[in-house]
Amino acid sequence: MSSNTLPKKNEIKRGAQGVRPAPGNWKNWIGVIPFLLFTFLFIVLPSLSLFVGAFQDAQGNFTFKNLADLFSADIIGAYWVSIRISLATAVGGGLLGFLMAYAITVGGLPRWVRTALTTFSGVAANFAGVPLAFAFIATLGRTGLVTVIFKTLFGLDLYDKGFSLYSFLGLSLTYMYFQFPLMVLTITPALDGLKKEWREASENLGATSFQYWRMVAMPILLPSLLATIILLFGNAFGAYATALSLTGGFLNLVTIVIGSQIKGDILHNVGLGYALALGMVIIMAISMVIYYFLRRRSERWLRT
């Protein structure tokens, strides 16, 4: 970057910025115009349109009513279920994924286990949507294999005991299928970043394994752990296909409500649909901002 002739152009330009545009400067922007145009048309414009719609009534006048309507019991309920399910599967999947990542990195297992498990995880993390719902119906549905095994082997009817695949718990178990592999994939590099010397140093100073984890490894890992859990949260929060094909829209998630709003005006208020979408984007944006800062914090330690 520093040894050639081209960067000089940039330096000159940067120096001249605000005084007058350097000759030929605008040519540099030509290369990114298609990209900016595309993203404006298909990302910015749709988002903006929903944003504007959220502040308009049926006649197109400015209003805060749509946003106020978000605070009705139904809508708050939908957000609450979505948030709870995303949190539960993010924390649950995060924990399971972390323990597995721990096992394959510092757990002293043979190398092939690690290769196999990361490959599995790569597939499972991308195996979502309609087929995933089918798989869980065949597993834990009323006539699913696991349900039947429990019934015949242990005489335990899961559905009599109050379990249902088409409930909060069932959907959570299904989401976990793509949540924990995502944790394995993202946290493994962080665990690799724990230097052997740190462990040796703490052992030399007489620390127990627990003390090492509590006082050395965990503080270093915590930002990446939290960051990944937030990533998992967003992953579950935006999921639509899996939930719809599993519960048939029975569970009142935000994505499901938005989906039925697009199909027909079920809220009897288009503006409310836009406000719902806006609320989702705000929650996702907040979690992504937190993710970004945690990520930067964790990179401080894990850069070598």
């Binding site: 970057m1 050639n4 081209l6 940067r14 290369g31 990114v32 990209f35 595309f38 993203t39 990302i43 749709p46 988002s47 349109s49 929903l50 719609g53 399971l96 597995m100 096992a103 297992l109 286990v113 498990l117 990361t118 490959t119 599995f120 790569g122 597939v123 499972a124 991308n126 195996f127 979502a128 949507g129 309609v130 087929p131 719902a133 798989a135 119906i137 065949a138 597993t139 699913g144 294999l145 696991v146 976990m176 299928y177 394995v184 994939l185 993202t186 967003g234 929060f237 999921a239 639509y240 296909a241 094909s245 994505t255 938005i258 709003q261 697009i262 199909k263 649909g273 996702m284 944006a285």
Partner: protein
């Protein structure tokens, strides 16, 4: 140390069970279409359904076009930014992360609101609707396509290659097509396969734009009235995902893992 290792095996076992049990159950279920015996009847029925091929080919086509558009959009942009506009890098990276903030369901909501009315009227024609679908998929593919290509660019000396090509009299088109893209083969291909893995069974955007013409909505329709066939479809799409991921692993051994967004 011994207990430590047992503990490790225990968690790996839990993970493997979580991973395999639903697959075994689905496979077993898919074999039960004929009463009393195990058979591949459900698979046979799926493969005999003309709708299966029609929707699958449609989604494959949409996937291929999405890849084409993504490459045309991402490669020149990422290249240009490394070469001429390094100050724009964080801005473009930020834009490519937007699909993580805007879930697919919100994206399709916005796309319909903007492009189904004046002045675009894209959803009034088949071509327009397909184009909108491809645009939506390209947006979904942006984060990993961009990251994949940008990582690929980081591993080659873009500036020297460009200058060498220029001094031999090559224009921008030649540089991109004959110098940069061949050097990015692995990166572009792994991005492409991940795009394909995501797009082929995609449900959310497809169901609102093209309905049961696409493979994802078709699977969903089968799931509503044919139990065994839906299990065999799940196994088929699992094998597809496995194939795409295997290809990606082959392409970037030891490289970063490929991940797509929420579905």
């Amino acid at each position: 140390m011994k207990t430590n290792r047992l503990w490790s095996w225990f968690w790996v076992l839990i993970g493997v069970l979580y991973f395999l049990v639903p697959l075994i159950a689905t496979f077993e279920f898919s074999l039960r279409a004929k009463k009393g015996v195990l058979s591949f009847l459900a698979y046979q029925r799926v493969f005999e359904d003309p709708q299966f091929y029609k929707t699958f080919l449609f989604s494959l086509e949409m996937g291929a076009l999405t890849i084409l558009v993504s490459i045309l959009l991402v490669v020149p942009t990422a290249y240009w930014i490394r070469l001429r506009l390094p100050q724009m890098r964080s801005v473009v990276e930020f834009i490519t992360m937007m699909p993580f903030v805007i879930p697919a369901i919100v994206l399709v909501f916005g796309l319909i609101r903007v492009f189904s009315g004046p002045p675009f009227f894209l959803t009034n024609t088949y071509i327009g609707t397909d184009a909108l679908l491809i645009a939506g998929y390209t947006v979904l593919a942006l984060p990993y396509m961009y990251r994949s290509v940008d990582n690929g660019l980081a591993s080659i000396d873009v500036r020297s290659l460009t200058e060498a090509a220029q001094s031999l009299g090559a224009g921008w088109g030649t540089i991109l097509l004959q110098v940069i893209i061949p050097n990015l083969r692995a990166a572009v291909l792994s991005g492409a396969f991940l795009t394909l893995a995501t797009v082929i069974g995609e449900f959310t955007i497809a169901s609102f734009l093209v309905g049961v013409n696409a493979f994802g909505p078709y699977m969903s329709l089968i799931g509503q009235n044919k139990t065994y066939e839906s299990s065999s479809l799940a196994i088929i799409s699992f094998l597809l995902t496995w194939a795409f991921m295997g290809l990606i692993q082959l392409l970037n051994r030891g490289g970063q893992q490929a991940l797509s967004g929420a579905r």
